[in-house]
């Protein structure tokens, strides 16, 4: 018996070690964001009571926002513009991606069309085209379409997700086609069947697609940097980068406060959706 217990203890030790390593940088960021400049630069682990005498520096957050500068056109902090832009771009991307994925996955599972599996394979094959290859041509296209420095450039190219189509197709395949025949008898068409029966049954797949695309959209950095010019069109990731290169670079505590404000919305979104998320990934079985 003792041997088995040792083994289990070892398993838990490894898992806890890994889990600690996964969250520690995040905790470190939160802690540093409410320290004074001195405590942040010297890595004073716990400058607050009872070990130290510093209060929590909540004003780091407001200071980070004011340090990032003002949007002269609207007379509001640039940070608010960054934040609003990130929200606008991410929400449009997520809603668009989920819609296009649902429609495509439905056509690929519950409708009779010639060459259905071939169409699906061709869609899958597009992941073989590296994004770096299409980067410059897309930037040139943005200039030609006069989309440069607009929300169109930030959203339209991302309104499709091969991963989303794949995931939802896997889920939709588990919904029996007899169900559609029954719905037909009740007078429902494809669209009604899709949105009243298929979509509610596929919540985990939809939430998973939404979460992953939200993460990717929120995190997108290279593309917004290339296709926007004005600071009021920048998104948070780019704004954070510019803060790092500017004043924030030397003030670590402000840098961490800024980074915290970038990270918090997505972490909150993650915690609200994680139950569906793991279910979505596991039950559809992304098994390659």
């Amino acid at each position: 018996m003792a041997k088995i217990n040792w083994k289990r203890a070892l398993i838990y030790a490894v898992l806890i070690l890994g889990a600690t390593a996964s969250v520690l940088p995040f905790v470190y960021m939160l802690m540093t964001s409410v320290k004074t400049y001195g405590s942040a630069t010297t890595n004073n682990f716990w400058p607050w009571p009872p070990l130290g005498d510093e209060p929590l520096q909540w004003n780091n957050f407001t200071e980070a926002i004011t340090t990032a500068g003002m949007d002269k056109a609207w007379n509001i902090p640039l940070f608010v513009r960054y934040f609003a832009n990130s929200v606008i771009v991410s929400v449009i991307t997520v809603v668009g991606t989920v819609l296009t994925s649902i429609l495509a996955a439905y056509a690929l599972t519950h409708m009779n069309l010639p060459g259905r599996n071939l169409v699906f394979l061709l869609i899958l094959a597009t992941i073989m085209v590296p994004n770096d290859l299409t980067l410059v041509p897309k930037v040139v296209m943005m200039f030609n379409l006069q989309w440069y420095n607009t929300y169109l450039a930030l959203t339209v190219p991302f309104l499709v997700s091969v991963f989303g189509i794949f995931l939802m197709r896997q889920f939709f395949l588990q919904i029996p086609r007899d169900l559609f025949d029954a719905a037909c008898i009740d007078g429902a068409g494809h669209l009604r069947f899709l949105f009243t029966i298929v979509v509610p049954l596929s919540k985990p797949a939809i939430v998973t697609t939404a979460l992953l695309n939200f993460i990717w959209a929120w995190d997108n950095f290279k593309w917004p940097l290339l296709v926007t010019r004005d600071s009021n069109m920048r998104v948070l990731a780019v704004g954070l980068q510019q803060f790092l290169q500017g004043e924030g670079g030397t003030k670590v505590q402000l840098m961490m406060a800024f980074a915290t404000m970038v990270v918090i919305p997505i972490v909150v979104f993650y915690f609200f959706t994680q139950k569906y998320f793991t279910e979505g990934v596991i039950t559809t079985g992304i098994k390659g």
């Binding site: 490894v14 898992l15 890994g18 889990a19 996964s22 969250v23 940088p25 995040f26 540093t32 010297t42 890595n43 296009t100 495509a104 056509a107 690929l108 519950h110 409708m111 009779n112 069309l113 010639p114 599996n117 169409v119 394979l121 073989m128 085209v129 590296p130 770096d132 290859l133 299409t134 980067l135 410059v136 041509p137 040139v140 296209m141 309104l159 091969v162 189509i165 896997q170 494809h190 995190d219 950095f221 290279k222 290339l226 948070l236 980068q241 790092l244 290169q245 840098m255 961490m256 970038v262 990270v263 997505i266 993650y270 994680q274 793991t278 990934v281 596991i282 992304i286 098994k287 390659g288």
Partner: protein
């Protein structure tokens, strides 16, 4: 179960289409939005790239210069240096991530209390914006009083310059043992290895989640049968888990290699956070993707950047084909 076609689960396919004569032509309307965007913003640009790669000058003032961009790239030492760095990056991150991801997923798959909590926590680094977490890690690697150096101090090891260090890691380790390694053996710079440590940290959770999904799909009766035949834990892992997980390993390795060849956000951010030029100390963190971006963004050489992208794409494509071959053969052997 190893060829790419298994992405389509045949068993669950719809009843034979021929039985129903009527096609839903309207289905193409459902597919239209997705396919239209894919074609316009992913497929056509890939072809457009070949034209741009023959152009010189700025984006608004292209002029035809033929194959010059390719010739310049192939003759540029920076390109070959960047390619070598990219290979170091892939070799230094992908196998470790796959092995570690599989290991953690396998541990989590045992009867573990609070499995859900671990799953949530392990995926956290993938959720947090790469730019934000790269800044935090750059601060951890700060040479003056950073956490990484504190840890080395606790272990009685000499402090390092981390993201500012252009010397190769093997050279540094050799020096620690009083050996002087030749230049070609010095390996990737410590700056670059610091970036790789971040990359492993960030990607691990994604691999764990995907491997967990794969493990869930393995029939538990197989393990029971193996145990009855007297197999020990390692034998079960080696002869049941690994072969049946091959499609997942294949999927992850394809995705990770394609992704790693284009790694950008965190490399770029960590360079800047360490007050280094793009490409890091002495260009030792310059990957092909970073080199390409530098040419496009700082040097305004769109055609040249595209030629580099095409060369990179060819390498990725060749490697993907090799992987398909490799896993096809592995799959057949396992099936026997």
């Amino acid at each position: 179960m190893s060829e790419p076609a298994t992405l389509v689960p045949h068993a669950q396919s719809a009843p034979p289409i021929r039985e129903r004569v009527k096609y839903d032509w309207i289905a193409y309307l459902y597919l239209l939005p997705a396919i239209l965007i894919l074609v316009v913003f992913h497929i056509l640009p890939a072809f457009y790239a070949f034209w741009i790669s023959t152009q010189g000058g700025r984006i608004r003032a292209f002029r035809f210069i033929g194959a010059d961009n390719y010739l310049n790239a192939l003759q540029a030492p920076e390109f070959w240096g960047a390619l070598l760095n990219t290979v170091w990056y892939v070799v230094g991150t992908v196998p470790i991530n796959i092995a570690l991801g599989l290991f953690i997923a396998y541990l989590l798959f045992q009867k573990i209390r609070g499995r859900g909590v671990y799953r949530v926590i392990y995926f956290m680094p993938h959720v947090i914006s790469a730019v934000a977490s790269a800044i935090v890690w750059a601060w951890v690697f700060n040479p003056t009083g950073g956490i990484a150096n504190r840890l080395l101090g606790l272990l009685g090891l000499p402090e390092q310059k981390w993201l500012l260090e252009s010397d190769g890691v093997f050279k540094l380790i050799g020096q620690g043992f009083g050996m002087d390694l030749p230049g070609w053996l010095s390996g990737p710079s410590l700056a670059f290895v610091s970036v790789m440590i971040f990359a492993v940290w960030q990607a691990l959770g994604f691999d764990v989640i995907i491997f967990l999904a794969g493990l869930t799909n393995i029939n538990a009766e197989l393990y029971e049968a193996g145990k009855i035949d007297g197999a020990n834990g390692w034998q079960l892992f080696r002869h049941i888990t690994i072969p049946l997980l091959m499609p997942t390993i294949f999927f992850i390795s394809i995705i990770s290699i394609i992704g790693s060849f284009q790694a950008f956000n965190h490399i770029y951010t960590m360079n800047i956070a360490a007050s280094q030029p793009l490409g890091g100390p002495l260009g030792t963190t310059r990957t092909v993707s970073i080199f390409m971006f530098d040419q496009l963004y700082s040097q305004q050489r769109a055609g040249y950047a595209t030629a580099i992208a095409i060369l990179l794409a060819l390498i990725i494509f060749a490697l993907t084909l090799v992987q398909f071959r490799f896993f096809e053969r592995g799959g057949q052997e396992n099936a026997q």
